[in-house]
Subunit: 280 residues, 2 copies
Amino acid sequence: MRNLNQDTITQAVIARFAQTPDPRLKEIMTSLVQHLHAFAREVKLTEAEWMAGIQFLTATGQKCDDKRQEFILLSDTLGLSMLTVAMNNDKPAGCTEATVFGPFHVEGAPHYEHGDDVANGASGEPCLVRGRVLGADGKPVANAEVEVWQADADGNYDVQYEGLEHHRARGILHSGADGRFHFKTIVAEAYPIPVDGPVGDMLRATNRHPWRPAHLHFMIKAPGYETLITHVFRDGDPYLDSDAVFGVRQSLVADWVKQADGSYMLDFDFVLNPAHVAAK
Amino acid sequence: MRNLNQDTITQAVIARFAQTPDPRLKEIMTSLVQHLHAFAREVKLTEAEWMAGIQFLTATGQKCDDKRQEFILLSDTLGLSMLTVAMNNDKPAGCTEATVFGPFHVEGAPHYEHGDDVANGASGEPCLVRGRVLGADGKPVANAEVEVWQADADGNYDVQYEGLEHHRARGILHSGADGRFHFKTIVAEAYPIPVDGPVGDMLRATNRHPWRPAHLHFMIKAPGYETLITHVFRDGDPYLDSDAVFGVRQSLVADWVKQADGSYMLDFDFVLNPAHVAAK
């Protein structure tokens, strides 16, 4: 192993992973090395390009903190997140489809009761959201944990405001015995993903727009069911066909209906996949 | 583009790069997306594994500072660095081969005169290094910039010592009119790459040792020649056949000869590749 060249090095690196105790980790590292090397070989990566890549990845890591996850944003904009979601959430017909988690979920969202205003001061037009959590058999799922988060009218999540001490437009409720929940919030609006970091540099260099169609994030957990991580997208949004993170599914597009008093109403039911079906 | 699935998303992401103005960047992003998705698809990456990958890359970026480059270390240990070096340094026979740059080069190394001790207080057995910088025609290259750096007897580079204010075992000299240079330093010893970060976690999880065979780093620059980035490796080292970063080339292995007074002597000539040959 003293004269590795561009033709022999890949097998030499793979051989070095031969003693990996966990067979799954061995499988992943072997595949990763093969594809990473195949990429470098296919484009005949130059040393300057290699260094640019090192610097890009370093800057991406250093942009991350407890409120910003630039590597998730990179994965999202390269379609890796949606590919992973699609591969792992091949649910039976009738179940609500999953989409990307996104970088703006945080732990510790406040708990709310039905009818509360989760906006909690976030700017935007008033909106009532109501729906049901159901099983695939159509029966209500009681006491499901329904976590919701969204951007405000300026396109920002609460965690994007420096020094904001309380959560806005983010909260956790529980479905009632009839599977129903409802809460007040603000209308979802289209917004650009953050472009003040390396991902923004990448989008500008490749002439890609940073916009996401208007959406409301949901994560729904209930015993006996797969956790559902999804969005509801707002019908009519101009970015539904060019989401910067490739997350739109037609079955998740819904109408925010304008009411007589000028406020909006979203009505959406979520159908959970039983956990035993997921365990393949 | 509203119903992307695991079979259609890759082409949709590639299409999004269609308006990239720089054709080389477009080529690189297209290849990167294909290989990144092929990897995820081949191993059927789970969402938990995806998140573990996000966290690993984030931690790798956050381990970097002005003295530590964990992404270079990751690239080195995955063989990507050596693959890139090999693809880009296919020199004519007779020229000194290149090897990995490594993560411990820093700007601003002190300048020394012939005969000076570049160790500058670094621990280790005394050693004289001498050699010549030559062109492929065998003629001396005068006034070439010869930068050298190495670890000390404890296996650490100067930048690995917290709070050390001056450089040790690192310096820049210039070849004389006859192409010759010589300096005092310490004997190169085998050492483990730093394992207190994510790369160390990866090596432990895969049962890989972190050792590099003893070596002295050189970067040699002269007008009209390709910059040579290489090492000289110490013959007899037990890690020559299992370098943690895959950098060993037999032509770079040399003898550190013990002298009558107990000190060591390394004699090594470097043959530079004319720059016009490199410009393919």
